[in-house]
């Protein structure tokens, strides 16, 4: 390997270095854009977009070496010219909408970066064959300065795109809830009315559903904890016959999908006369959430030092006393987190509530809200208003406790 190629490998100017990732992203983005153009029924534009994606892929492939050799450089210039023509055509075809601006930004920015790379003095220095040590040192220093900025910029572009995708339904719901009328359509923020909040809060259905959901969720939390806390403690501390197989059974149960035991579950509940009651749902939810709750709690109990118990035992505490007086007070935060988890599960569960409770006055919020959107006569505005009212407390609860919830959940999930 000659010194020349070695320095070419070690040092690539910032323009070309950044061009690689930008063109990667641009190729992926243009495939998506082409699909979107197909959805818009603009097959001509979709073809052009795909052509652009292919050109970017070609440039990505040529970029690192091509800029250094003269015949290839000509090809690259030609391709860039071609792409400019295509993008200009696309720009002229598009209307001035949010979509068009965003899509064309994704076409123009890579092209401008290619042009910048073509005309940058650093690139021409790099392509000139003998690369002096000074040039090399200066270029490397420049890379070290600029590249982190570029990476940060790239991260922000990715994150902003994801955040827009995530926030879109939220903004949409907020907008629909304050738009008059129950139909879709109309731009965001073009009209204002509180009629949907009045309908939902003034009517009885919403309160009935909320009452049912609160009863079910609180009942599930309480009953579920009563079952989970003692058994998690036993799994964590006692060595009894059948401990390992019982724990294994709990893991296996976690794998059982709700839909599969749906039919027998329904029939058992029917036999016990628990259909269309809150108790049926409380019992079902407590048991389905039980394995995960036990795993979460067991993890927490395992972390409580055993020395405490041994000291208490020396002082003459019974097992029950140790559990109630020492372990439980110490693990109140953990129990609370598990409680929040089962509360949220019960608050959001849909399938069992749909199957078990068929009368309107026993609906929980999920089924009630879904019943606002049947196949005919959809009440989008009312649904949106109710959804916001329902999800705001839950989202706040989730975000406040996210770290402990996620920690408990993923340790339970990964172990299970």
């Amino acid at each position: 390997m000659s010194l020349q190629t070695a320095s070419h490998k070690w040092y690539v100017p910032f323009e070309i270095l950044s061009l690689r990732s930008v063109l990667n992203a641009a190729v992926a983005m243009h495939v998506v854009l082409a699909a979107l153009e197909l959805i818009r029924d603009r097959i001509d534009l979709a073809g052009l977009t795909i052509a652009l994606a292919a050109i970017f892929a070609l440039l990505r492939w040529l970029a690192p070496q091509a800029l250094s050799g003269s015949p290839r450089l000509q090809i690259v210039r030609l391709i860039v010219l071609l792409s400019i023509i295509i993008v200009a055509r696309l720009t002229l075809a598009g209307d001035v909408s949010g979509y068009a601006v965003w899509a064309r930004a994704w076409s123009w920015i890579p092209i401008l970066m290619v042009l910048a790379a073509l005309f940058s003095p650093y690139t021409s220095t790099w392509t000139r064959q003998p690369l002096s040590t000074d040039d090399l040192a200066e270029g490397l220093a420049r890379n070290r300065r600029l590249y982190p900025w570029f990476q940060r910029f790239g991260s922000h572009v990715l994150l902003i795109h994801s955040c827009v995708l995530v926030l879109l339904p939220v903004i949409w719901i907020a907008d629909v809830s304050i738009s008059p009328g129950n139909l879709l359509g109309g731009g965001i923020g073009d009209a204002f009315s509180l009629e949907h909040y009045q309908t939902m809060l003034g009517g009885s259905s919403f309160w009935v559903w909320t009452r049912n959901s609160v009863i079910v969720a609180v009942g599930t939390t309480f009953f579920g904890l009563c079952l989970a806390v003692p058994s998690a403690y036993a799994f964590s501390r006692f060595d009894f016959f059948g401990r390992r197989s019982a724990m294994f059974a709990f893991i296996v149960v976690q794998m059982f999908p709700g839909a599969i035991i749906l039919v027998p579950y329904f029939l058992v509940m029917k036999t016990l006369g628990l259909l269309n009651t809150s108790i049926g749902l409380i019992v079902a939810y407590s048991v389905t959430a039980l394995p995960l709750c036990i795993w979460m709690l067991k993890g927490f109990f395992d972390a409580v030092p055993r020395e405490l118990e041994e000291a208490a035992k020396l002082d003459g505490c019974s097992t029950a006393q140790i559990f109630l007086r020492i372990i439980l007070p110490l693990s109140i935060p953990a129990v609370a987190v598990t409680g929040i988890f089962s509360f949220l599960t019960a608050w959001n569960e849909f399938l069992l509530a749909l199957v078990f409770n068929t009368s309107n006055d026993q609906f929980t919020l999920p089924v009630g809200l879904a019943s606002l959107i049947p196949t005919d006569g959809q009440r989008w505005g009312d649904f949106a208003a109710a959804s916001l009212l329902v999800s705001i407390p839950v989202v706040i609860l989730f975000i406040l406790f996210q770290r402990s919830l996620i920690q408990g959940l993923s340790s339970g999930a990964v172990k299970g």
């Binding site: 058994s231 036993a234 009894f240 016959f241 059982f256 027998p264 019992v283 879904a370 959107i373 975000i399």
Partner: protein, 486 residues
Amino acid sequence: MSRFWISLRSFILIVSLLAVLSGGAAYAQSVEASSAEDLTDYRRTGLELSLSGLQEGWSVEIRTDQHGVHTRIPVKDVFGLTRLPAEAALQACFSDGAPVHVDTDQQSVIGAGTQSLRCALTGLRPGTDVAVQAAIVDETGTLRAQSSEIRLRTDVSDLRLTPPDTRPILYLLGSILISLVLLLSALRWWDIRRGNLKSRNAYLYVGPAIVALVLLTFYPITYGIWLSFTDANQTHLGQSSFIGLENFGTVLMSSGLVQVGLFTLIWTVVNVFLHVTLGLLLALVLNRETLFGRNVYRTILLLPWAVPAYISVLAWQGMLQPEGLVNQFLGAEANFLGEATSARISVTLVNAWLGVPFMMMSLSGAMKAISTDMFEAADLDGVSRWNQFRHITFPNLKTTLVPLSLLSFIWTFNMFNTIYLLTRGGPYLGFGQPGATDIMVTYIYDVAFEYGDYGLAAAWSVIVFLLLVSFSIFYVRQTRATEAVT
């Protein structure tokens, strides 16, 4: 019925008709009756009515010469009311082709827009001719319209459905409970005898949870497996009989199996792939300590997990409507959920949207546990970011990724909500046939609760369960991650 009442009624009818006509021809009521032949399958007499001009507060009456008023169905605002469960509807009425609605008192009601009503008439004397007439009556009991009298013949053995005999289930639940308590006490005694005094109370602590789990999870599973070998359905639940492997044969021979199986497979694999790659990408980006606004991004990206799933799925349904936000943004008029391919792509993307945050958070937790020394050393050696990821981050994440992707696989395989709330399995839903976006669990729901075939649904469930278990075992063996379990 005396002549006097008939003439009075016709008088009232004429007067009211005149009154209504003067008020506006739009409110003209009419009711026509004919016999519903196909309802006699269930050995009752059926009546088919076509109605118009109903108003809320009125009611529809079916009168026979044996009963006087046989059935009275009030006309009410049915918005937000449920329809009668399908198994009860066999002895009740269907309005416009679906079981009638029930109000909060479990009374059958119909909406003002109802145009046709089919009722099974039970409780008539068997083997007789019966004269049947239908009428529309308003709040005050005034007759608004009535049909001509038709004569129907009841079957020789008119049969009321007996409620299924479910006592065996109760006995079984009871005996399981008792034997569990006995078993746990025996285990406790044995443990103490072994000299394990320290944990003699363990069974008291675990007992309730184990009893609940056995009664409400293991027993239903066993019961479900048993059901799959029977011909249980909603009409004869108590008298179901053992039919061997017939249900499994039906499932394996059904035309829907290949379609549903294939889509379930594609749906699961694509979703797990998207969850893992996007979750990994976002976790990598978010893990840079120096990133400006890192916590804000994190919180926003958590939203799909924090917002109740049913709400966000329904919101996506609204946004994907022809006049919804997505079309507005694109300036298009696509019916995303109305065509097979676009509906399939839409449900998959929406589910990816839902599942990425969990993966992202779990992976970023695992990434924090990787010692930073390795990255520092790699930086010194000039290893590129991509190679750092390939040779340091990824191998270290493997122990987390294996169980996480298995979990994601199982969850996605059983993801009922997304599909049910977006498309109900449609488009192209035919009776007994899966729709274009039906995966196995949504199809099982349809078979059980729309078509009422519990035995067949149970057979599907058993097959799904066997598939999942064998896949899990295969996957865990292949990845040799058994040490990650327990």
